[in-house]
């Protein structure tokens, strides 16, 4: 059953996870806009989503290494600043604000898609009147 539901929802659930991770990273960047030596981070959405939606190996033993989850591990990269500052901080507030807004809009789009899916599922289950 869960497989059917997973197939029905499609990639949106993973997309939402990656978007959440991205939101967190961008919030961290904006919070550290004045921290000396802080390097701005971001995830590459495409590769993070690919990683999150591919069939990953699961750890069955405590000695196994954990593979990076959604938006974690290798997908997090440092941003290359257009104008590096003297104190080593690479956060450019306007870039981060733009990215944050963009990410928020896309998050809402995904939520909308998911909501639509659930709505039609509910309609399909509803008794015929």
């Amino acid at each position: 059953m869960s497989n059917i539901l997973d197939n029905y929802i499609g990639i949106h659930a993973q997309a939402l996870q990656v978007r959440t991770k991205k939101t967190e990273l961008l919030a961290g960047n904006l919070a550290n806009a004045d921290t000396p030596g802080y390097k701005a981070k971001d995830v590459d959405f495409r590769s993070a989503l690919k990683m999150a939606s591919s069939d990953r190996m699961t750890t069955t033993d405590s000695r196994h290494f954990e593979l990076g989850g959604a938006g974690g591990g290798d997908q997090v990269q440092f941003r290359i600043p257009t104008q590096p500052s003297v104190d080593g901080n690479t956060v450019e507030s306007h870039v981060e604000q733009g990215e944050f807004m963009d990410n928020a809009m896309r998050y809402q789009a995904t939520v909308q898609f998911l909501g639509g899916k659930f709505k039609s599922l509910k309609e399909a289950f509803a008794p015929v009147r």
Binding site: L16, T20, K21, T23, E24, L25, L26, A27, G28, L30, A31, N32, A33, D34, T35, P36, Y38, K41, E66, G68, G72, G73, V76, S93, Q97, F100, M101, A104, Y107, Q108, V111, L114, G115, K117, F118, K119, K122
Partner: protein, 139 residues
């Protein structure tokens, strides 16, 4: 859920910017303070920020966190010595020591702090909206 962590991150930043605004206020309030020795003279203060690393993650690059005030540094800019023998605070040689607050620098600092504070408020508002939409999914 990591989206709730955004509130912690942004509020830590708001707190740090608040400390910065406090030091600016203290510096501007003491812009006319005088003392009778260089040691006692008021020196401009400024906070130094530091990233808070997330303890729950093992991945060094994935550690995302807020910000905290590492220390409040004290400016070592020279302090002006003024000859005014009639001043009640004057020392034996008739000098009073002013302070090393630079009001222009403080005003710029204040604007920067208030802008940074605003952008964190914006982040919290947007995140709240996202969470509310997620909670109301499918309704």
């Amino acid at each position: 859920m990591p989206l709730f962590d955004v509130f912690d991150i942004s509020s830590s930043a708001m707190h740090a910017q608040n400390v910065r605004l406090n030091t600016v206020a203290s510096n501007l309030a003491n812009a006319e303070t005088v003392a009778s020795s260089e040691k006692e003279a008021y020196r401009a203060k400024a906070p130094i920020f530091e990233e808070i690393l997330n303890r729950s993650s093992n991945d060094p690059i994935e550690k995302t966190g807020g910000v905290r005030v590492k220390e409040v540094s004290v400016s070592d800019a020279p302090i002006e010595k003024r000859y005014s023998p009639n001043h009640p605070m004057a020392n034996k040689e008739g000098f009073v020591f002013t302070n090393n607050v630079n009001p222009v620098e403080e005003m710029a600092n204040m604007m920067s702090a208030s802008r940074a504070f605003e952008s964190n408020v914006e982040v919290i508002n947007t995140t709240k909206q996202l969470l509310m939409r997620t909670l109301r999914m499918g309704q």
